[in-house]
Protein backbone atom coordinates (compact mmCIF):
# COMPACT_ATOMS: atom_id res chain seq x y z
CA UNK A 1 0.00 0.00 0.00
CA UNK A 2 2.62 2.50 1.13
CA UNK A 3 4.74 1.51 -1.86
CA UNK A 4 2.03 2.48 -4.32
CA UNK A 5 1.45 5.74 -2.55
CA UNK A 6 5.16 6.43 -2.75
CA UNK A 7 5.24 5.96 -6.50
CA UNK A 8 2.07 7.94 -7.04
CA UNK A 9 3.42 10.81 -4.98
CA UNK A 10 6.75 10.62 -6.75
CA UNK A 11 5.07 10.86 -10.12
CA UNK A 12 2.98 13.78 -8.93
CA UNK A 13 6.07 15.56 -7.65
CA UNK A 14 8.03 15.06 -10.85
CA UNK A 15 5.16 16.03 -13.14
CA UNK A 16 4.25 19.08 -11.08
CA UNK A 17 7.86 20.19 -10.99
CA UNK A 18 8.20 19.69 -14.72
CA UNK A 19 5.06 21.76 -15.26
CA UNK A 20 6.40 24.37 -12.88
CA UNK A 21 9.66 24.94 -14.65
CA UNK A 22 8.10 25.13 -18.07
CA UNK A 23 5.34 27.64 -17.33
CA UNK A 24 5.64 31.09 -18.85
CA UNK A 25 3.66 32.72 -16.12
CA UNK A 26 5.60 32.65 -12.85
CA UNK A 27 2.40 32.61 -10.82
CA UNK A 28 1.32 29.41 -12.53
CA UNK A 29 4.66 27.81 -11.97
CA UNK A 30 4.41 28.67 -8.32
CA UNK A 31 1.05 26.96 -8.10
CA UNK A 32 2.53 23.84 -9.65
CA UNK A 33 5.49 24.07 -7.37
CA UNK A 34 3.28 24.25 -4.32
CA UNK A 35 1.65 21.08 -5.57
CA UNK A 36 5.00 19.46 -5.95
CA UNK A 37 6.02 20.50 -2.46
CA UNK A 38 2.81 19.12 -1.12
CA UNK A 39 3.58 15.80 -2.71
CA UNK A 40 7.06 15.97 -1.26
CA UNK A 41 5.64 16.73 2.17
CA UNK A 42 3.49 13.65 1.98
CA UNK A 43 6.51 11.66 0.88
CA UNK A 44 8.30 12.88 3.96
CA UNK A 45 5.37 11.80 6.07
CA UNK A 46 5.48 8.45 4.39
CA UNK A 47 9.15 8.12 5.17
CA UNK A 48 8.52 8.69 8.85
CA UNK A 49 9.26 12.36 9.19
CA UNK A 50 5.98 14.01 10.18
CA UNK A 51 7.68 17.09 11.57
CA UNK A 52 9.67 17.66 8.44
CA UNK A 53 6.49 17.18 6.43
CA UNK A 54 4.69 19.79 8.47
CA UNK A 55 7.55 22.19 8.13
CA UNK A 56 7.78 21.56 4.44
CA UNK A 57 4.22 22.80 4.18
CA UNK A 58 4.57 25.63 6.66
CA UNK A 59 7.93 26.94 5.52
CA UNK A 60 8.13 26.09 1.85
CA UNK A 61 4.54 26.23 0.75
CA UNK A 62 3.34 28.64 3.39
CA UNK A 63 6.18 31.10 3.60
CA UNK A 64 8.79 30.86 0.89
CA UNK A 65 6.44 30.34 -2.02
CA UNK A 66 4.15 33.02 -0.67
CA UNK A 67 7.14 35.31 -0.58
CA UNK A 68 7.79 34.53 -4.23
CA UNK A 69 4.17 35.23 -5.00
CA UNK A 70 4.39 38.48 -3.12
CA UNK A 71 7.41 39.63 -5.06
CA UNK A 72 5.88 38.66 -8.38
CA UNK A 73 2.72 40.51 -7.55
CA UNK A 74 4.57 43.51 -6.20
CA UNK A 75 6.78 43.81 -9.26
CA UNK A 76 3.71 43.32 -11.49
CA UNK A 77 5.58 41.04 -13.81
CA UNK A 78 3.35 40.72 -16.82
CA UNK A 79 2.10 37.24 -17.57
CA UNK A 80 4.00 37.41 -20.87
CA UNK A 81 7.21 37.33 -18.86
CA UNK A 82 9.50 39.47 -20.92
CA UNK A 83 12.55 37.49 -19.99
CA UNK A 84 11.77 34.23 -21.74
CA UNK A 85 10.70 35.21 -25.24
CA UNK A 86 13.39 33.28 -27.03
CA UNK A 87 13.87 29.58 -26.56
CA UNK A 88 17.03 28.33 -24.93
CA UNK A 89 20.03 27.43 -27.08
CA UNK A 90 21.61 23.98 -27.08
CA UNK A 91 24.56 25.26 -25.09
CA UNK A 92 22.18 25.86 -22.25
CA UNK A 93 20.21 22.69 -22.11
CA UNK A 94 22.89 20.28 -23.21
CA UNK A 95 24.94 20.17 -19.98
CA UNK A 96 21.82 19.78 -17.92
CA UNK A 97 20.62 16.90 -19.98
CA UNK A 98 23.97 15.19 -19.84
CA UNK A 99 24.19 15.82 -16.14
CA UNK A 100 20.74 14.42 -15.52
CA UNK A 101 21.57 11.35 -17.52
CA UNK A 102 24.81 10.95 -15.63
CA UNK A 103 23.11 11.30 -12.28
CA UNK A 104 20.50 8.73 -13.04
CA UNK A 105 23.17 6.54 -14.52
CA UNK A 106 25.09 6.84 -11.26
CA UNK A 107 22.09 5.75 -9.30
CA UNK A 108 21.37 2.82 -11.55
CA UNK A 109 24.95 1.81 -11.32
CA UNK A 110 24.69 1.92 -7.57
CA UNK A 111 21.74 -0.38 -7.88
CA UNK A 112 23.79 -2.74 -9.96
CA UNK A 113 26.87 -2.59 -7.78
CA UNK A 114 25.03 -3.25 -4.55
CA UNK A 115 25.69 -6.95 -4.04
CA UNK A 116 23.07 -7.42 -1.36
CA UNK A 117 20.33 -6.25 -3.66
CA UNK A 118 18.51 -3.00 -3.21
CA UNK A 119 18.11 -1.87 0.34
CA UNK A 120 14.60 -1.27 1.38
CA UNK A 121 13.51 1.68 3.40
CA UNK A 122 11.59 0.36 6.38
CA UNK A 123 8.66 2.19 7.83
CA UNK A 124 9.85 4.19 10.70
CA UNK A 125 8.65 7.00 12.85
CA UNK A 126 10.59 9.82 14.44
CA UNK A 127 8.47 11.41 17.16
CA UNK A 128 8.68 15.15 17.69
CA UNK A 129 10.21 14.47 21.08
CA UNK A 130 13.15 12.45 19.71
CA UNK A 131 13.57 14.98 17.00
CA UNK A 132 13.70 17.92 19.38
CA UNK A 133 16.05 16.05 21.67
CA UNK A 134 18.58 15.39 18.95
CA UNK A 135 18.13 18.86 17.51
CA UNK A 136 18.83 20.68 20.73
CA UNK A 137 21.44 18.37 22.15
CA UNK A 138 23.70 17.32 19.34
CA UNK A 139 23.13 20.23 17.02
CA UNK A 140 22.90 23.10 19.50
CA UNK A 141 25.90 24.87 18.04
CA UNK A 142 24.55 24.48 14.53
CA UNK A 143 21.30 26.04 15.67
CA UNK A 144 23.18 29.02 16.99
CA UNK A 145 25.05 29.42 13.73
CA UNK A 146 21.93 29.04 11.62
CA UNK A 147 20.05 31.51 13.77
CA UNK A 148 22.87 33.97 13.29
CA UNK A 149 22.64 33.41 9.59
CA UNK A 150 18.93 34.12 9.69
CA UNK A 151 19.65 37.31 11.59
CA UNK A 152 22.22 38.36 9.02
CA UNK A 153 19.79 37.51 6.25
CA UNK A 154 17.15 39.68 7.86
CA UNK A 155 19.57 42.55 8.24
CA UNK A 156 20.84 42.05 4.71
CA UNK A 157 17.38 41.95 3.22
CA UNK A 158 16.53 45.09 5.12
CA UNK A 159 19.69 46.75 3.88
CA UNK A 160 19.13 45.82 0.26
CA UNK A 161 15.49 46.78 0.37
CA UNK A 162 15.84 49.99 2.31
CA UNK A 163 14.79 53.35 0.92
CA UNK A 164 18.38 54.49 0.42
CA UNK A 165 19.03 51.77 -2.09
CA UNK A 166 16.08 52.91 -4.10
CA UNK A 167 17.32 56.46 -4.15
CA UNK A 168 20.71 55.41 -5.38
CA UNK A 169 19.11 53.26 -8.03
CA UNK A 170 17.07 56.23 -9.15
CA UNK A 171 20.27 58.21 -9.50
CA UNK A 172 21.79 55.65 -11.81
CA UNK A 173 18.68 55.41 -13.88
Amino acid sequence: MATYIFYILGIIAVVATAMAITRRNPVHSIIYLVNSFFALAMLFYLLGAPLVAAWEVIIYAGAIMVLFLFIIMMLELSPGERADRQGPGPLQWLPVLLLGAALIGCTLLLLKLDPAGSQNIPTWYASPRDFGYVLFHEYALAIEIVSFQLLFAAVGAFYVGRAGGRKEAGGIK
Partner: protein, 331 residues
Protein backbone atom coordinates in the same frame (compact mmCIF):
# COMPACT_ATOMS: atom_id res chain seq x y z
CA UNK B 1 -19.00 -6.18 10.51
CA UNK B 2 -15.29 -6.06 9.86
CA UNK B 3 -13.26 -3.73 11.97
CA UNK B 4 -11.89 -1.50 9.24
CA UNK B 5 -15.31 -0.98 7.72
CA UNK B 6 -16.62 0.18 11.06
CA UNK B 7 -13.76 2.57 11.48
CA UNK B 8 -14.16 3.90 7.98
CA UNK B 9 -17.86 4.33 8.49
CA UNK B 10 -17.27 6.11 11.74
CA UNK B 11 -14.79 8.45 10.16
CA UNK B 12 -17.16 9.13 7.31
CA UNK B 13 -20.00 9.74 9.72
CA UNK B 14 -17.90 12.11 11.72
CA UNK B 15 -16.78 13.85 8.58
CA UNK B 16 -20.31 14.26 7.30
CA UNK B 17 -21.54 15.43 10.65
CA UNK B 18 -18.73 17.91 10.99
CA UNK B 19 -19.24 19.26 7.49
CA UNK B 20 -22.95 19.58 7.92
CA UNK B 21 -22.66 21.24 11.30
CA UNK B 22 -19.85 23.47 10.18
CA UNK B 23 -21.58 24.71 7.05
CA UNK B 24 -24.86 25.30 8.84
CA UNK B 25 -23.09 27.00 11.65
CA UNK B 26 -21.19 29.22 9.23
CA UNK B 27 -24.43 30.22 7.53
CA UNK B 28 -26.09 31.01 10.81
CA UNK B 29 -23.01 32.79 12.03
CA UNK B 30 -23.57 35.24 9.19
CA UNK B 31 -27.07 35.79 10.44
CA UNK B 32 -25.92 36.06 14.03
CA UNK B 33 -23.32 38.58 13.05
CA UNK B 34 -25.87 40.68 11.26
CA UNK B 35 -28.30 40.46 14.14
CA UNK B 36 -25.73 41.23 16.82
CA UNK B 37 -24.17 44.06 14.88
CA UNK B 38 -27.68 45.41 14.39
CA UNK B 39 -28.39 45.26 18.09
CA UNK B 40 -25.13 47.03 18.83
CA UNK B 41 -26.18 49.77 16.46
CA UNK B 42 -29.67 49.95 18.01
CA UNK B 43 -31.47 48.26 15.14
CA UNK B 44 -33.02 44.80 15.03
CA UNK B 45 -31.11 43.27 12.13
CA UNK B 46 -32.67 40.96 9.54
CA UNK B 47 -36.06 39.77 10.76
CA UNK B 48 -38.22 39.42 7.69
CA UNK B 49 -37.40 36.05 6.21
CA UNK B 50 -38.95 33.52 8.50
CA UNK B 51 -39.40 34.00 12.24
CA UNK B 52 -36.70 36.32 13.56
CA UNK B 53 -35.13 36.19 10.13
CA UNK B 54 -34.05 32.59 10.67
CA UNK B 55 -34.50 31.72 7.01
CA UNK B 56 -32.25 34.55 5.94
CA UNK B 57 -29.20 32.29 5.27
CA UNK B 58 -31.31 30.18 2.97
CA UNK B 59 -32.48 33.25 1.13
CA UNK B 60 -28.89 34.43 0.82
CA UNK B 61 -27.79 31.13 -0.62
CA UNK B 62 -30.61 31.17 -3.14
CA UNK B 63 -29.73 34.69 -4.11
CA UNK B 64 -26.04 33.85 -4.52
CA UNK B 65 -26.78 30.74 -6.53
CA UNK B 66 -29.10 32.49 -8.92
CA UNK B 67 -26.85 35.47 -9.53
CA UNK B 68 -24.84 35.78 -12.70
CA UNK B 69 -21.43 34.15 -12.44
CA UNK B 70 -19.19 36.79 -13.89
CA UNK B 71 -15.59 36.30 -14.98
CA UNK B 72 -13.66 39.41 -16.03
CA UNK B 73 -12.36 39.38 -19.56
CA UNK B 74 -8.67 39.76 -18.80
CA UNK B 75 -8.73 37.50 -15.78
CA UNK B 76 -6.63 34.38 -15.45
CA UNK B 77 -9.67 32.12 -15.73
CA UNK B 78 -8.10 29.00 -14.40
CA UNK B 79 -6.88 30.60 -11.18
CA UNK B 80 -9.93 32.81 -10.93
CA UNK B 81 -12.15 29.76 -10.69
CA UNK B 82 -9.77 27.85 -8.45
CA UNK B 83 -9.17 30.49 -5.82
CA UNK B 84 -12.51 30.62 -3.94
CA UNK B 85 -12.55 26.84 -3.66
CA UNK B 86 -9.05 26.92 -2.28
CA UNK B 87 -10.08 29.46 0.29
CA UNK B 88 -13.08 27.43 1.44
CA UNK B 89 -11.32 24.06 1.40
CA UNK B 90 -8.30 25.11 3.42
CA UNK B 91 -10.66 26.54 5.99
CA UNK B 92 -12.73 23.35 6.10
CA UNK B 93 -9.78 20.97 6.28
CA UNK B 94 -8.43 22.41 9.49
CA UNK B 95 -11.38 21.08 11.41
CA UNK B 96 -10.09 17.56 10.86
CA UNK B 97 -7.81 17.80 13.88
CA UNK B 98 -10.08 19.69 16.27
CA UNK B 99 -11.19 17.53 19.18
CA UNK B 100 -14.70 18.63 19.99
CA UNK B 101 -15.52 16.29 22.79
CA UNK B 102 -14.19 13.60 25.11
CA UNK B 103 -13.92 10.12 23.60
CA UNK B 104 -17.27 8.43 23.13
CA UNK B 105 -18.01 4.78 23.54
CA UNK B 106 -19.98 3.48 20.59
CA UNK B 107 -20.61 -0.15 19.62
CA UNK B 108 -18.04 -1.16 22.18
CA UNK B 109 -15.42 0.99 20.52
CA UNK B 110 -13.88 4.03 21.97
CA UNK B 111 -14.47 6.69 19.40
CA UNK B 112 -12.47 9.86 19.81
CA UNK B 113 -14.58 12.85 18.93
CA UNK B 114 -12.14 14.15 16.41
CA UNK B 115 -11.98 13.37 12.75
CA UNK B 116 -8.30 12.55 12.88
CA UNK B 117 -6.16 12.83 15.98
CA UNK B 118 -2.83 13.76 14.41
CA UNK B 119 0.05 13.81 16.81
CA UNK B 120 1.29 16.96 15.12
CA UNK B 121 -2.09 18.64 15.12
CA UNK B 122 -0.67 22.01 16.02
CA UNK B 123 1.61 21.94 13.02
CA UNK B 124 -1.25 20.77 10.83
CA UNK B 125 -3.23 23.78 11.90
CA UNK B 126 -0.31 26.12 11.31
CA UNK B 127 0.38 24.59 7.92
CA UNK B 128 -3.18 24.93 6.74
CA UNK B 129 -3.49 28.42 8.05
CA UNK B 130 -0.37 29.34 6.15
CA UNK B 131 -1.94 27.87 3.03
CA UNK B 132 -5.05 29.95 3.59
CA UNK B 133 -3.13 32.84 2.09
CA UNK B 134 -3.26 31.26 -1.34
CA UNK B 135 -6.99 31.42 -1.91
CA UNK B 136 -7.11 35.11 -1.23
CA UNK B 137 -3.89 36.01 -2.99
CA UNK B 138 -4.54 34.04 -6.15
CA UNK B 139 -8.10 35.29 -6.30
CA UNK B 140 -6.91 38.85 -6.08
CA UNK B 141 -4.17 38.35 -8.58
CA UNK B 142 -6.24 36.43 -11.09
CA UNK B 143 -8.92 39.10 -11.20
CA UNK B 144 -6.49 41.34 -13.03
CA UNK B 145 -7.88 44.38 -11.32
CA UNK B 146 -6.05 47.02 -9.37
CA UNK B 147 -8.31 46.93 -6.35
CA UNK B 148 -8.20 43.18 -6.14
CA UNK B 149 -4.43 43.10 -6.55
CA UNK B 150 -3.91 45.72 -3.87
CA UNK B 151 -6.23 43.86 -1.53
CA UNK B 152 -4.42 40.61 -2.22
CA UNK B 153 -0.98 42.09 -1.59
CA UNK B 154 -2.16 43.71 1.58
CA UNK B 155 -3.78 40.54 2.78
CA UNK B 156 -0.74 38.49 1.92
CA UNK B 157 1.67 40.58 3.90
CA UNK B 158 -0.78 40.92 6.76
CA UNK B 159 -1.36 37.19 7.00
CA UNK B 160 2.34 36.35 6.81
CA UNK B 161 3.13 38.92 9.47
CA UNK B 162 0.55 37.79 11.96
CA UNK B 163 1.13 34.11 11.32
CA UNK B 164 4.51 34.53 12.94
CA UNK B 165 3.17 35.84 16.19
CA UNK B 166 0.33 33.31 16.06
CA UNK B 167 2.79 30.45 15.73
CA UNK B 168 5.02 31.87 18.42
CA UNK B 169 2.09 32.28 20.76
CA UNK B 170 1.44 28.55 20.35
CA UNK B 171 4.98 27.62 21.36
CA UNK B 172 4.31 28.23 25.08
CA UNK B 173 1.19 26.11 24.78
CA UNK B 174 3.16 23.24 23.31
CA UNK B 175 5.78 23.73 25.98
CA UNK B 176 3.18 23.59 28.71
CA UNK B 177 1.32 20.60 27.28
CA UNK B 178 4.49 18.82 26.13
CA UNK B 179 2.72 17.62 23.02
CA UNK B 180 1.76 18.69 19.54
CA UNK B 181 -1.48 16.74 19.68
CA UNK B 182 -4.57 18.85 20.20
CA UNK B 183 -6.13 16.10 22.29
CA UNK B 184 -3.18 16.13 24.67
CA UNK B 185 -3.30 19.89 24.83
CA UNK B 186 -6.93 19.75 25.90
CA UNK B 187 -6.10 17.05 28.42
CA UNK B 188 -3.32 19.18 29.86
CA UNK B 189 -5.88 21.85 30.67
CA UNK B 190 -7.98 19.63 32.87
CA UNK B 191 -7.23 21.76 35.92
CA UNK B 192 -6.58 25.24 34.65
CA UNK B 193 -7.06 26.50 31.10
CA UNK B 194 -3.91 27.88 29.55
CA UNK B 195 -5.53 31.27 29.18
CA UNK B 196 -5.03 31.69 32.90
CA UNK B 197 -1.63 30.02 32.97
CA UNK B 198 -0.24 32.16 30.21
CA UNK B 199 -2.49 35.17 29.67
CA UNK B 200 0.08 36.93 27.50
CA UNK B 201 0.16 34.10 24.98
CA UNK B 202 -3.64 34.05 25.05
CA UNK B 203 -3.80 37.75 24.27
CA UNK B 204 -1.25 37.52 21.48
CA UNK B 205 -3.01 34.53 19.95
CA UNK B 206 -6.36 36.28 20.21
CA UNK B 207 -5.10 39.38 18.43
CA UNK B 208 -3.31 37.28 15.84
CA UNK B 209 -6.34 35.22 14.97
CA UNK B 210 -8.45 38.34 14.62
CA UNK B 211 -5.83 39.51 12.15
CA UNK B 212 -5.72 36.10 10.48
CA UNK B 213 -9.45 36.14 9.98
CA UNK B 214 -9.10 39.42 8.05
CA UNK B 215 -11.84 41.02 10.09
CA UNK B 216 -12.23 44.42 11.61
CA UNK B 217 -10.02 45.96 12.95
CA UNK B 218 -7.65 44.16 10.61
CA UNK B 219 -9.85 43.98 7.51
CA UNK B 220 -7.43 45.84 5.27
CA UNK B 221 -7.52 43.25 2.45
CA UNK B 222 -11.18 44.07 1.87
CA UNK B 223 -11.41 47.59 3.24
CA UNK B 224 -14.67 48.69 1.63
CA UNK B 225 -14.05 52.38 1.64
CA UNK B 226 -10.57 52.11 0.19
CA UNK B 227 -10.54 49.12 -2.12
CA UNK B 228 -14.21 48.56 -3.06
CA UNK B 229 -14.19 44.98 -1.81
CA UNK B 230 -10.51 44.20 -1.85
CA UNK B 231 -9.44 40.85 -3.18
CA UNK B 232 -12.97 39.70 -4.05
CA UNK B 233 -13.98 42.84 -5.87
CA UNK B 234 -14.48 40.99 -9.16
CA UNK B 235 -16.26 37.99 -7.73
CA UNK B 236 -19.98 37.46 -7.86
CA UNK B 237 -22.51 34.74 -7.31
CA UNK B 238 -21.49 31.54 -5.62
CA UNK B 239 -17.76 32.18 -6.08
CA UNK B 240 -18.13 35.18 -3.89
CA UNK B 241 -20.28 33.01 -1.67
CA UNK B 242 -17.43 30.56 -1.29
CA UNK B 243 -15.09 33.30 -0.17
CA UNK B 244 -17.75 34.47 2.19
CA UNK B 245 -18.52 31.07 3.65
CA UNK B 246 -14.80 30.36 3.83
CA UNK B 247 -14.32 33.43 5.93
CA UNK B 248 -16.98 32.37 8.39
CA UNK B 249 -15.81 28.78 8.54
CA UNK B 250 -12.39 30.18 9.23
CA UNK B 251 -13.93 32.16 12.03
CA UNK B 252 -15.35 29.02 13.60
CA UNK B 253 -12.06 27.18 13.11
CA UNK B 254 -10.08 29.93 14.74
CA UNK B 255 -12.61 30.08 17.53
CA UNK B 256 -12.32 26.38 18.16
CA UNK B 257 -8.54 26.64 18.01
CA UNK B 258 -8.62 29.34 20.63
CA UNK B 259 -10.91 27.11 22.65
CA UNK B 260 -8.63 24.11 22.29
CA UNK B 261 -5.38 25.93 22.95
CA UNK B 262 -6.38 28.30 25.68
CA UNK B 263 -9.89 27.81 26.99
CA UNK B 264 -9.63 24.17 27.92
CA UNK B 265 -11.40 22.66 24.90
CA UNK B 266 -14.26 20.41 25.96
CA UNK B 267 -13.23 20.46 29.60
CA UNK B 268 -15.85 21.78 31.96
CA UNK B 269 -18.01 20.76 34.86
CA UNK B 270 -21.58 19.36 34.84
CA UNK B 271 -22.32 19.57 31.13
CA UNK B 272 -21.14 17.05 28.53
CA UNK B 273 -17.91 17.93 26.79
CA UNK B 274 -19.37 18.62 23.41
CA UNK B 275 -21.75 21.17 24.89
CA UNK B 276 -18.94 22.93 26.68
CA UNK B 277 -16.98 22.97 23.48
CA UNK B 278 -19.86 24.49 21.52
CA UNK B 279 -20.49 27.09 24.20
CA UNK B 280 -16.89 28.16 24.23
CA UNK B 281 -16.61 28.32 20.47
CA UNK B 282 -19.80 30.31 20.19
CA UNK B 283 -18.60 32.67 22.88
CA UNK B 284 -15.40 33.24 20.97
CA UNK B 285 -17.40 33.83 17.80
CA UNK B 286 -19.52 36.31 19.68
CA UNK B 287 -16.34 38.01 20.79
CA UNK B 288 -15.23 38.29 17.16
CA UNK B 289 -18.52 39.91 16.25
CA UNK B 290 -18.31 42.14 19.26
CA UNK B 291 -14.87 43.32 18.19
CA UNK B 292 -16.22 44.03 14.75
CA UNK B 293 -19.00 46.09 16.21
CA UNK B 294 -16.64 48.04 18.42
CA UNK B 295 -13.27 48.80 16.95
CA UNK B 296 -12.38 50.95 13.94
CA UNK B 297 -10.07 49.77 11.20
CA UNK B 298 -6.35 50.22 11.59
CA UNK B 299 -4.24 52.08 9.08
CA UNK B 300 -1.99 49.85 7.02
CA UNK B 301 1.28 51.10 8.50
CA UNK B 302 -0.18 50.82 12.00
CA UNK B 303 -1.08 47.23 11.25
CA UNK B 304 2.44 46.38 10.14
CA UNK B 305 4.09 48.26 13.00
CA UNK B 306 1.84 46.57 15.49
CA UNK B 307 2.55 43.14 14.10
CA UNK B 308 6.30 43.40 13.73
CA UNK B 309 7.30 45.84 16.42
CA UNK B 310 4.96 44.96 19.26
CA UNK B 311 3.32 41.59 18.81
CA UNK B 312 6.34 39.69 17.50
CA UNK B 313 8.85 40.84 20.16
CA UNK B 314 6.22 40.31 22.78
CA UNK B 315 5.57 36.75 21.67
CA UNK B 316 9.30 36.01 21.55
CA UNK B 317 9.65 37.40 25.03
CA UNK B 318 6.75 35.25 26.11
CA UNK B 319 8.41 32.13 24.74
CA UNK B 320 11.56 32.92 26.69
CA UNK B 321 9.63 33.71 29.85
CA UNK B 322 7.58 30.53 29.62
CA UNK B 323 10.73 28.51 29.07
CA UNK B 324 12.37 30.12 32.07
CA UNK B 325 9.26 29.52 34.13
CA UNK B 326 9.12 25.85 33.21
CA UNK B 327 12.81 25.46 33.92
CA UNK B 328 12.38 27.13 37.27
CA UNK B 329 9.42 24.97 38.18
CA UNK B 330 11.38 21.87 37.35
CA UNK B 331 14.04 23.18 39.69
Amino acid sequence: MPEWLLITLLILAKLGLVFFVLLTLAAYLVLAERKILGRMQLRPGPNRVGPFGLMQPLADVIKLLTKEDFIPDQADKWLFMLAPGLAAVTALLTFAVVPFGPPLTLFGHEVPLVVCDLNIGVLFFLGLSSLAVYGMTLGGWASNSKYALLGAIRGLSQLISYELSMGLALVPVVMLARSFSLNDIVMAQADVPFALVNPLAFLIFLISIVAESKRIPFDLPEAENELVAGFHTEYSGMRFGLFFVGEYINLIILGSMLTVFFLGGWMGPFLPGIVWFSIKVLLVCFFFIWVRGTLPRLRYDQLMHFGWKILLPLSLLNVILTGAFLLWRQG
